[in-house]
Symmetry: C2
Subunit: 188 residues, 2 copies
DNA sequence: TTCGTCATGTAATGGGTTACATGATTAC
DNA sequence: GTAATCATGTAACCCATTACATGACGAA
């Protein structure tokens, strides 16, 4: 997921590591921040795979060792790879974590794949809701656990409704093709 | 967290590994299941630490090797340790994961610590909500990211409200001491 | 007799975190 | 000149997962 997120952000514009991390937090929620201990090694990995290139701007050669600000950008292969990643709905796309990340790059995802992801995610959340309901009716919980389960259940319900709205709006867009200036498509 | 959960379940009744896993799923939500690959090594670890004892029931010695069903139970030191864990609100208690686990054993937690945890968690969620709000107003997001952020924001709001209700009900209980047959405490 | 599920375990791996270490740049 | 924050990195660790391997027991 970190990989996808990095490729996605770099596909918008070149950036260095530190900035990447901030944008990552902004996009995925600041409480969901990656540490440098995972960010930099991943950048190294992506570079070794040939998906991003690392150019440190030429240093003013005044003799002293300067710490370079390394700017990363997608290579041609990187763009291709990113495109492939966006082209199918991997299973991890359906869990909480992965879904959020995928959604962040929905604008660059085909309408078809968007729909598969949204419906897949909805199905997943419906299953969770079902399981929750089962375990709730089977065993009598204590007061606190019951509260927690109820809250979890309601959260699932809300997410299902939210996803249904997104799906409906996708379908509407599919019928009334989106103009450059997107307006809410009316039902008729 | 797995440790706390295992100790907690075993404090209710002795159990073997397989059953433990099922009860874990039932309590923490079936979609949040631990694998055997983490469960059994952890049991080993807890046993080595002296917190649980492992007694495999005597086998019918008919010569053939039988696979034993190993039943685990808390030792005296285990009970003590579990009590200590419940006695203070460690930081990991405040994140999503840990909070759910702690709540599962609230019935065995002192009213004081319960309150600290609930208020700590509320504060945490409020911070998340705040951060979300910040990043939302700072940068213009695309349609999908905006949708996601809005949904996340509403979820936080709901959780804060839910926690506030729990807190209020705790306070009510503190004033009107809870009878065996607990009834909802009226505001006056 | 075979299938499902109960039951226990290991090895390799994954995907991150924390703590540490260093140095440059900016604002006061 | 000093504090904050920008900026890059490494090593050790943690907590789990996946895939694999084994075997008992009951029901169809």
């Amino acid at each position: 997921m970190l990989e996808l997120a990095i490729l996605g952000l770099l596909s918008e514009s070149p950036m260095h590591g530190y900035e990447l991390r901030k944008r990552l937090s902004a996009t995925l929620g600041s409480f969901r921040a990656f540490s440098y201990g995972s960010l930099y090694p991943t950048l190294r990995k992506l570079r070794d795979a040939g998906w991003i290139s690392e150019d440190e701007p030429e240093l003013p050669t005044d003799g002293v060792s300067r710490r370079a600000k390394r700017v990363y950008q997608l290579t041609a292969e990187g763009k291709e790879h990113f495109g492939e990643l966006l082209a199918d709905a991997q299973p991890e796309t359906l869990d909480d974590e992965g879904f959020g990340t995928r959604l962040a790059f929905f604008a660059q995802t085909s309408a078809e794949v968007r729909m598969r992801i949204l419906e897949g995610r909805r199905r997943r959340v419906e299953e969770e809701r079902h399981d929750l309901h089962q375990s709730q009716s089977r065993s009598k919980l204590d007061r606190y656990t019951e509260q927690l389960q109820n809250h979890a259940l309601e959260s699932r319900d809300r997410e299902v409704r939210w996803l249904s709205e997104l799906i409906a709006s996708e379908r509407a867009d599919a019928e009334a093709p989106p103009k450059t200036k997107s307006k809410q498509a009316p039902a008729t």
